[in-house]
Symmetry: C2
Subunit: 368 residues, 2 copies
């Protein structure tokens, strides 16, 4: 018995034509370790947008019901050679009801339950998901459970990473995001100091309203002074950046080094001995990262991704993190949405341009 339903696909052709469309799809019976979930809610996260549209020119795209045809600019069209011609499903995470289960005990135990899952094709009426990765939601609704994985586990993962590396403070850029707000709550709960960097006064106010102690506005004239002062008070020589392109991280490294040098008694041509580390975990800016020679050799700039982190952290840590998420889904890990759209509405020009802008507090929820 197979199930059919509608699903979103994103296809990039070798000539740079990107087609995103709703199409009828067939879902086979679950393998022993899998469940088939009737999807009820799925958030559109920045990581989904990278695959769905990337830097494609949506302003000048052709929009028809359930379909967008757009041009992908270079060097991104050629750069994504690995996906040329492939019809890719989209949607990391979501929640829904298990309507079929594989033969394994883990899968069978979920039959009929509402679960949060990470199927990779969450923008769909149905999705096959690994039972081991599903979180039974109990009486939590699918809307409340839809974002139970990516943002909560990433924010918790930052704090776990800090603890593993002996850090007691974190710098976070673009810190007013949904993820940033969760991180702020977790750090308050866990006694980790957090230096929030934002670029608007309203984001300062938002985070201060959530109890944040250090919020620095990069649009202020005295940004560097604010940043140095926050780093000096917190000893935050470690952080996370979702922007990627430009000199955001460079500026943070400079401020860290200036704080470290201000505490040195003797000049060293090599800069301070203070180790400074920044992880990049997103690409809100697809431009190149610029790192200037302004902070010696005691720095590390590295990529951070959830899946490899979870694999490295081990099952015990992952289970502990998931339990914490489930117990606090309506508080620490609550998400809010600007709008709800079905699969066809997701592909209208007005909606696509709106959620692709990734403005703070304006996340969309797909309710297939």
């Amino acid at each position: 018995m197979t199930t059919t339903g509608k699903q979103i696909f994103s296809t990039l052709d070798a000539d740079g034509t990107l087609t995103v469309e709703v199409a009828e799809s067939t879902f086979p019976d679950p393998k022993p370790s899998q469940v088939l979930v009737r999807m009820e809610a799925a958030p559109i996260n920045p990581s989904d947008l990278a695959l769905l549209f990337g830097p494609a020119d949506l302003e000048n795209a052709e929009f028809s019901p359930g379909k967008i045809v757009a041009k992908m600019p270079e060097p991104f069209a050629s750069g994504a050679k690995g996906r040329h011609g492939q019809r890719l499903p989209v949607g990391n995470e979501g929640a829904g009801t298990v309507v079929a289960a594989g033969d394994s005990d883990a899968a069978q135990a979920l039959m009929g339950q509402r679960v949060a899952c990470v199927p990779g094709n969450a923008f769909s009426e149905y999705a096959l998901a690994e039972a081991a990765m599903c979180l039974p939601l109990g009486d939590v609704s699918s809307e409340d459970g839809a974002s139970a994985f990516v943002n909560p586990m990433t924010a918790l993962g930052f704090v776990e990473t800090a603890k593993m590396e002996g850090q007691k403070a974190i710098v976070h850029l673009a810190a007013a995001s949904n993820l940033g707000q969760m991180l702020n709550k977790i750090c308050l709960e866990d006694g980790i100091e957090l230096v929030n960097i934002v670029r608007k006064q309203e984001q300062v106010d938002l985070l201060k309203g959530l109890g944040a102690k250090y919020v620095v506005n990069s649009s202020d004239d005295d940004y560097m002074k604010q940043l140095r002062s926050a780093i000096d008070e917190t000893d935050a020589f470690f952080g996370f950046d979702p922007i990627g392109g430009g000199n955001n991280v460079d500026t943070v490294f400079k401020a860290m080094e200036q704080v470290a040098v201000s505490k040195m008694t003797e000049y060293s041509r090599y800069g301070s001995n203070q180790e400074k580390k920044m992880y990049v975990y997103g690409r809100l800016d697809l431009g190149p990262t610029i790192l200037t020679p302004s902070y010696g050799f005691g720095f590390t700039y590295a990529g951070w991704l959830l899946t490899p982190f979870l694999a490295k952290a081990g099952m015990e840590t992952v289970v502990r993190m998931r339990t914490r998420v489930l117990q606090n889904l309506k508080t620490t890990f609550a998400s809010s949405y600007k709008a709800r759209v079905n699969l066809e509405e997701m592909l209208t020009k007005e909606n696509a341009l709106d959620y692709r802008a990734m403005r703070t507090g304006e996340k969309y929820l797909v309710t297939p």
Copy 2:
């Protein structure tokens, strides 16, 4: 009793004026842990040049006997605020004869001996050095022992770092340098694969003549193809770069990722799972480092410096490394010099412009 002698000092004033001069200096009696060395030979390494001249405008400087007055361009003049007005000694390493020793057994044991040392003011007639860091040279001459520390320990440090991180292959940029040639010999001895990147055919020939298996010329039209092929054959996803500025490391990361992706069976929006790591250990190019979003999030770009590495590696490893250097000073760790200059000759326009160019195989030796 104090000793007097000539010494080189480099002073950067707040207005950007750099003064490098030979001046009479007084050397106090050694502390218990120290020895006083009459310096006989000291190499001018790239790390010395950074402190001696940095990016100062030597072409238009004023040269008088034993003195250079030059302009330091921005942003480097303001950026080096920590050294403004300080009269800094120069010269990481060298060799000479111990003429006075502190009270400790370690210091007394070196009295009258020829040693290699790391005093930080090696461009001098005399220097105080920590006895624990001195290497007794036995019947090796001061000229042969002058470069016994920085390049040999750095090259060995790269291989130690690779082994500590579970790597069996190394990519090295600007690989025809004195340091690069040592690294090539060490890798051949230790069975570590080495991908040498150079930019001239004569450097290819030089390294091939020294038994290098993989030498890639970045000036060739098919550089990327050569590089991918070498990485593919060696599994070198790890390396060291002395250049710093520009897109050299970016290009290496791209090639590494392309090799990793070519082995994947399924497209991933996040790129390959292959961890790629490059250390920067020099600043031959003082421009910013450019890192493009072309290789996912599985990368690390970090600074590498000898002193913190040795501190982290621990005494046992350091002693093992030093013993290996001493036993092979005339073979694996031999250095060659283009010219010998005394302190005054070091500051003539002709010589300063020549050694500041840091051309491969054209290192100067200071014989005070």
